[in-house]
């Protein structure tokens, strides 16, 4: 039924990327470019008593040295969220205190990186070391050092207890419902640190354009938030800043953070010269990370398996600064709990500060951590009930036209909005997985013997599509002489393919073909506003903006065509870039119409700027069915089959949608099975390289089977929902459940490395 969407059109930037023509941040040359390097804290928690930069400043080739003594002190958050951000304002360009190993103490701008690094060695800093908080368990103990004792930060829930955020939401009476339940489960896990590891690290270049305005070319997911936050921290008006995002090499959430651009901007402001900051891989590992969480789930059910009560307790570790502190923790509840229709629900969440690397937004955004526990607890409940875990999910999961009180109770750091499920294929997905994996043949672990034991596991999930009533996107479309269209969007393609998807939506709305759309995105001077790429919002929210804009432009085309073909607007049929009069069959091409409007009669520019917000955030759904092999001699887990069914509404570009799921699954497998941080006793990360922090690569991926299930989401553009994050939630709980089915042990710590599995089996 669709002509342009729901087809796997070629990526609009595919050829230029493959040919090496597409320009990334670092692919442009600048004269007199300065390279900026950071001096980083060697201590996890310390006061800076004095800093002497005179020798560094005198070093030949050094052009500026900045630190807390010579830069403005503006409390802000680096979270890169909408205004006003729901994250505490607890961060400064530089502070008199350092709060994790790697916290910037000073930055040096020099002619070359080598000079900058040499000069850093000449900076003398006197520290007073303070006791450090290095675990979730220690963060709120009485008498622990206060990490944010500075006076001017704000938005911190309880600084004395190192609590960045807290929430306690109750619906119904969970305590009573648990007490009344015939069967109850209590299960607790702790998830681990991990990093997004985009292939292109954080990088930005700032320079002054001819009129003296500051231009920041940066690898970001949020160009408009970069402009706003830099304006604040650099104390200059937004009008004097332009932010441009060229092609970028991956983000996965870490490039929602705005914390490098203002250092570069500061150097350019001071020296008048272009300045570049590029993180090394080692620095990237301690830039922003995933919030580790201690998650506890309690479930109560009657003998028929219907859930009476669900309770989730979460303590999230935000590290030294509270970036996304409140919202990631909220999302552990808001993206997990509505999946099951219990009447009595409680979510109790806290986010603590520690002197460890800063956490931030990361694909999955709290849901990943919540599901790691919830979906294991569901399996434990099924076992207690002597019920098939698939059946338990079938009877409890949320269905079409149903709602959950959690939608209204939990939002983004505040209350949410009520909503009903209007599209879901979850039931079909479960049937598909059950059949595909021959679920009925599953035997309990007690019947398995031998060295290599197979196990099956499953789990189900939902996510969201944008932040309802918060995320806003806009698009502008104008026609050109030949009937092609410029589509300018604030939306940010970070390799995800959103430039392609948005072009397809425009083409569909404009009754033309995708190759007639010239897209330009993510430039605060040239494109209209968009919150940026996060919260699984781009296809849904930005796509909505493109659709309404296209429809308005189409009305104008219809009007001009009617004028040209001398008939009423209703008599005009628009199809494949041609207007046909139903009266006499005469036609005009979009090129004719554009030229007419631009040159001939009643001249005007056919064009429009449209915006979109959504009152709801329709969840995509996913079911994962996996079969693994556990080598009981070595503890190694091999994936035999990993079936992943996803309902993302209408897949605007099925190939790209599958690619998003595939990427998220591999990302999640790696997170579940190999990735992890090793810290020494003083809180320093010890494995900050790809030699010692292992991510999955193509050889490690096997048995993957991804299937998209089409539904039509009425609130989305041409029926679309989101797809980019949900896939990462699957591996931990699905594999952990399969592990139990294979060898009878439950993973409560991660990653599930062979050594850990052996340790569990020996217990």
């Amino acid at each position: 039924m669709f002509k342009e969407v729901n087809h796997s059109r070629l990526k609009v930037d595919g050829l230029s990327l493959a040919a090496g023509k597409a320009l990334f941040v670092d692919d442009m040359d600048f004269r007199e470019l300065l390279i900026v390097k950071f001096m980083k804290s060697p201590h996890a928690h310390a006061e800076i008593l004095s800093i002497d930069t005179s020798a560094a400043e005198a070093f030949p080739g050094v052009h500026a040295v900045i630190h807390h003594g010579n830069t403005p002190r503006i409390p802000h958050t680096t979270a890169g969220q909408g205004h006003p951000e729901p994250s505490p304002y607890d961060t400064y360009m530089f502070d008199k205190k350092v709060r994790y190993v790697g916290d910037p103490v000073a930055a040096v701008a020099a002619d070359t990186a080598e000079i900058a690094l040499e000069a850093i060695k000449l900076i003398k800093v006197e520290y007073k070391e303070l006791e450090a908080v290095l675990s979730i368990a220690d963060a709120s103990k009485p008498g622990v050092p206060v990490i944010h004792d500075e006076e001017d930060s704000f938005g911190i829930y309880d600084r004395e207890k190192n609590l960045a955020g807290h929430v306690d939401v109750k619906v119904g009476d969970v305590e009573k419902a648990l007490a009344d339940s015939e069967f109850t489960v209590e299960y607790e896990i702790e998830t681990h640190y991990s990093q997004h590891t985009p292939i292109e690290p954080h990088i930005c270049i700032s320079y002054l354009e001819e009129k003296g305005r500051l231009v920041i070319r940066t690898s970001t997911q949020v160009p408009f938030h970069v402009r706003r936050i830099c304006a604040k921290v650099l104390e200059m008006p937004e009008k004097n800043i332009r932010v441009v995002k060229p092609r970028i090499g991956g983000g996965f959430g870490t490039k929602q953070e705005v914390y490098l651009e203002y250092y570069a901007g500061m150097i350019t402001k001071l020296t008048g010269r272009p300045a570049k900051i590029e993180l090394t891989r080692e620095e990237e590992f301690i830039s922003r990370t995933r919030h580790p969480m201690a998650v506890k789930v309690k479930l109560g059910a009657n003998g028929d398996g219907m859930l009476n009560a669900v309770e989730m307790d979460v303590i999230s570790n935000t590290g030294a600064y509270g970036s996304h502190a409140l919202t990631v923790m909220f999302n552990a509840g808001s993206k997990c709990l509505p999946l099951y229709g219990a009447k009595n629900v409680r979510f109790n969440g806290s986010t603590v500060y520690t002197n460890l690397p800063v956490a931030g937004a990361y694909r999955g955004y709290g849901a990943t951590q919540g599901y790691a526990c919830l979906e294991q607890a569901m399996d434990i409940l099924a076992e207690k009930l002597k019920m098939c875990p698939v059946q338990l999910r079938k009877i409890n999961h949320i269905k079409k036209d149903e709602t959950s009180p959690i939608f209204a109770a939990l939002g983004e750091g505040k209350e949410g909005v009520p909503q009903f499920i209007k599209s879901t294929a979850l039931s079909e997905i479960i049937e598909w997985g059950e059949e595909g994996l021959n679920w009925s043949d599953t035997k309990p672990h007690t019947e398995k013997t031998g060295r290599i034991r197979r196990g099956k596991g499953m789990a189900i999930f939902m996510q969201g599509s944008g932040i309802p009533l918060v995320d806003m996107a806009s698009a502008s479309i104008k026609i050109n002489d030949d009937g092609s269209f410029n589509l300018n969007v604030g939306a940010t393609d970070l390799g995800t393919g959103s430039d392609t998807v948005l072009s397809q939506i425009a083409a569909e709305a404009l009754e033309t073909t995708t190759d007639n759309i010239i897209i330009y995105s993510s430039d605060t001077d040239m494109t209209p506003f968009d919150v940026g790429a996060y919260a699984s919002s781009t296809t849904y929210i930005s796509g909505g903006a493109v659709k309404v804009t296209g429809e308005e432009v189409l009305k104008q085309i219809r009007m001009v065509a009617a004028d040209m073909l001398k008939c009423s607007r209703e008599e005009i049929e628009l199809k494949n870039s041609i207007a046909t009069s139903k009266k006499d069959g005469k036609t005009k091409t979009y090129g004719d119409i554009a030229k007419y409007a631009l040159y001939i009669n009643n001249q005007f520019q056919i064009g429009y700027i449209g915006s979109h917000i959504s009152p709801v955030s329709p969840p995509p759904f996913m079911g994962v069915f996996t079969e693994i092999e556990v080598d009981t001699w070595t503890g190694k887990i091999e994936i035999i089959k990993y079936m992943c069914g996803v309902d993302c509404g209408t897949a605007i570009n099925p190939k790209l949608a599958e690619g998003q799921v595939e990427g998220a699954v591999v990302n999640g497998l790696s997170y579940a099975l190999t990735e992890g941080y090793l810290f020494n006793k003083k809180g320093k990360m010890m494995n900050g390289s790809f030699q010692d922090y292992k991510i999955y690569n193509i050889e490690d991926v096997q048995g993957l089977e991804i299937k998209l299930f089409s539904t039509f989401e009425p609130s989305g553009p041409f029926g679309a929902k989101s797809v980019s994050e949900i896939g990462i939630n699957g591996p931990i709980p699905a594999i952990a459940n399969a592990l139990y089915n294979a060898v009878g042990v439950r993973a409560v710590r991660f990653p599930m490395k062979p050594e850990y599995i052996l340790e569990l089996m020996e217990k």
Partner: protein
């Protein structure tokens, strides 16, 4: 990276004499170890002497009674050589498990050996197959057995300026199996690696990444070689001897305990495979 002097000698003699001119000079082959260390600032050489121009042998030569592999032969060459794959498949396998295709296109076998990492992937198959290394100091050449070449972590019998020229492998009808365990399948150093080799009912067992050098476990070999019949019990006893002999450390790639567990399991498996005993 710090500045250094780059020298392209045209003879082995020239290379050695340049090397001897300072205390902090390094030979360069593929550079996949050297350059990494220089970038990290761990090595700060005065002079880099490029062996690629110095007339060292590269390539693989098939002679009547022996195979010769030049020190400059790349790991891809060894991995893909149909001759090596046929005659010493476990060496081809080991070469093919090192790093990534990119690494293997640059990395040389000489560099892998002279770098002398306890986890070097080509070490255990060469020791197991009884290879000898031809060393040259520019004037004289000498031969050492592969198993006597390694002296410690990053230490070999090479004297100052001496270099590894060629590897000599006797042609034989023996059969060997190489095994490498790493955290992910591509581009990772070994948590443990090993080769078990059998020729005329005599076994050689060599374990990597479990000691300061790759280690041949003679006591375990003895046990197998003396036995009239190899059965499961004997294999398990042999594996136990292996585990008692090795002294692995705990690091990012695995704990000492886990390494022992891996070695025990897999050495038994490899012996079983060669002896035709189900393990």
């Amino acid at each position: 990276m710090e500045n250094f002097e780059f020298i392209s000698p045209i003879t082995i003699k020239g290379a050695v004499s340049q090397y001897k001119k300072g205390a902090n000079n390094y030979y360069l082959a593929g550079g996949t170890d050297l350059i990494v260390l220089m970038r990290e600032g761990i090595l700060v050489p005065e002079k880099i002497i490029d062996l690629k121009t110095a007339g060292l042998p590269s390539g693989i030569k098939k002679l009547k009674t022996e195979i010769r592999i030049g020190a400059l032969a790349t790991l891809s060459e060894i991995e893909h050589s149909s001759f090596i794959r046929k005659e010493i498949p476990f060496l081809a396998e080991a070469a093919g498990k090192l790093g990534s295709p990119l690494t293997r296109n640059r990395a040389t076998i000489g560099g892998n050996l002279c770098n002398a990492s306890p986890a070097a992937d080509t070490a255990t198959p060469l020791i197991a197959v009884g290879a000898k290394f031809i060393l040259s100091d520019g004037k004289k050449e000498r031969r050492v057995k592969a198993e006597e070449f390694f002296k410690g972590v990053k230490q070999t019998v090479l004297k100052k300026g001496e270099l590894l020229k060629e590897i000599v492998i006797p042609r034989s009808a023996g059969k060997g199996i190489f095994y490498k365990k790493s955290r992910i399948k591509l581009v990772d150093l070994a948590t443990v690696n090993m080769t078990v080799y059998r020729e005329k009912k005599k076994y050689r067992i060599v374990i990597g990444a479990c000691h300061i050098t790759p280690l041949r476990i003679r006591a375990a070999e003895e046990k197998l070689n003396k036995a009239k019949k190899i059965d499961l019990a004997l294999i398990n006893e042999t594996a136990e001897i292996v585990v008692k002999t090795i002294k692995p450390i705990s690091d990012m790639r695995g704990s000492a305990e886990y390494r022992k567990q891996l070695v025990e399991t897999h050495v038994a498996r490899l012996i079983g495979e060669l002896a035709g005993v189900e393990v």
